[in-house]
């Protein structure tokens, strides 16, 4: 890679394109991010916004700045505070829906550290339906019985639905693509309907990313608490009987073509 091909280091042009013009697609993408109201979370906060957040947090826990300053002795600790955070902005309610939607995706993105807590009630049994190029095919909620592979082309609308007779309120899922002995954890958006069914849907190319043609397997892991990525990969690559009782591992064979 030649130096000329690298982004320029000046703050005025952090990512100039190879020709040195200002039509770098990433710069254009950044402008798009700044302009899109729904992507504002990616735009850095200003120094003033950060200071306001810091002040609000400190005041919330320690009290107003006019309060007596803590001693400089190391033993002089910050007083404890147990009251819930009072959000300083009135917009909080207005964004509730957005936050709820964000959490739906974050449920799929969350990197769960395996927790100690286990709910007493057993997890409801989920069934997975994978719809692809062929008519809808069911996948047994058991690893045994992969069924006929679902054909997927890049443009195929892939729909993975998980349903249960008694849907769980706090169930989480992760999607893993297994092929050639390798497991790739995917982070697609997950939607939940009023009946409690979970769904992942979108063009196969978007959900699966860049792939080669050939057989593969879609594996969904469902649970109230999910393991981290490494444990998740080990789980889906392991023997069927290795799955902890509080997790369900649902599998569906697929065949990729035209990728």
């Amino acid at each position: 890679m030649s130096e000329e091909r690298l982004p320029r280091a000046g703050t005025g042009d952090p990512g100039g394109d190879q020709a040195g013009t200002d039509d770098d697609v990433l710069r254009r993408a950044a402008r798009e991010v700044r302009a899109a109201s729904s992507l504002q979370a990616l735009v850095p906060l200003s120094a003033a916004e950060r200071e306001r957040l810091a002040d609000a947090a400190i005041e919330h826990v320690l009290g107003a700045a006019g309060a007596p300053a803590p001693s400089s002795e190391p033993a002089a600790r910050i007083p404890a505070a147990v009251t819930p955070l009072v959000r300083p902005r009135s917009r909080a309610r207005a964004v509730t829906a957005v936050v709820a939607a964000s959490l739906a995706l974050a449920a799929a993105l969350a990197l769960y550290v395996h927790g100690d807590r286990r709910a007493a009630a057993p997890l409801a049994t989920y069934a997975m339906i994978v719809a692809g190029e062929q008519p809808t095919r069911g996948a047994a909620p058991h690893p045994a019985g992969p069924g006929v592979p679902v054909e997927l082309r890049p443009e195929t609308r892939l729909v993975i639905t998980l349903a249960s007779r008694q849907p769980e309120r706090d169930v989480l899922l992760r999607l893993v693509l297994v092929r050639g002995g390798r497991a790739t954890v995917l982070d697609p958006p997950v939607a939940k309907d009023q009946a409690g069914s979970l769904a992942i849907a979108g063009p196969a190319a978007e959900l699966l990313g860049v792939q080669r043609d050939g057989p593969a397997e879609l594996v969904v892991v469902v649970g109230r608490e999910l393991p981290g990525d490494d444990a998740l990969r080990a789980l889906v690559l392991g023997a069927p009987g290795d799955a902890p009782r509080d997790l369900q591992v649902l599998r569906q064979a697929i065949r990729l073509a035209g990728f």
Partner: protein, 189 residues
Amino acid sequence: MESSIQELVTRALAGDRPALRELFAHVICPAVERRLAHRLALSGADRAALQDHVQEVLVHLLRRDAEVLRRWDPARGALEPYVAKVADNHLISHLRKRPPPSPTEDLDSEPAASASPEQGAAFSHLVVRLLREMNDNDAALFRAVYLEELSPDEAAVRLGITRDAAHKRIQRLRARLTEMLSPPNEPAT
């Protein structure tokens, strides 16, 4: 750099309020923000939601005699990864407490959908798609270079990667977006 941060933390925990403000506003807040920004943006969360989450993490670090902040051990690593982990845990904890999300009317709808002209909307769609493809590290680099407008070298230092790695990742992201912009029957160059 890290030694100065360590000193700042020590002063803050010893009761130096200006140091505490400096630490939270200029060190911890940006670190939390960087950690949460990509994930929240992908979900369509707005700026207010980002601020809510950041503030909740800051309060969590300070609560109960700054118990969580005091657990940071400089001997085991820098402050930013520690704070990032706290932010991760916050998000996880938040998820556990929240009710299930409202049903989505259109599973394919993009959070960045706007009323812009067709071409702009298509590009917006591609940007969201690229963001979804990015891992956290690539997203942090993109954000640092193109939104915070750090130089790639500065971003590399912040992210703890080499300058070459930063440049290669940027090139790869650029190539990927260019490929997305290319017509399907016209391979990107």
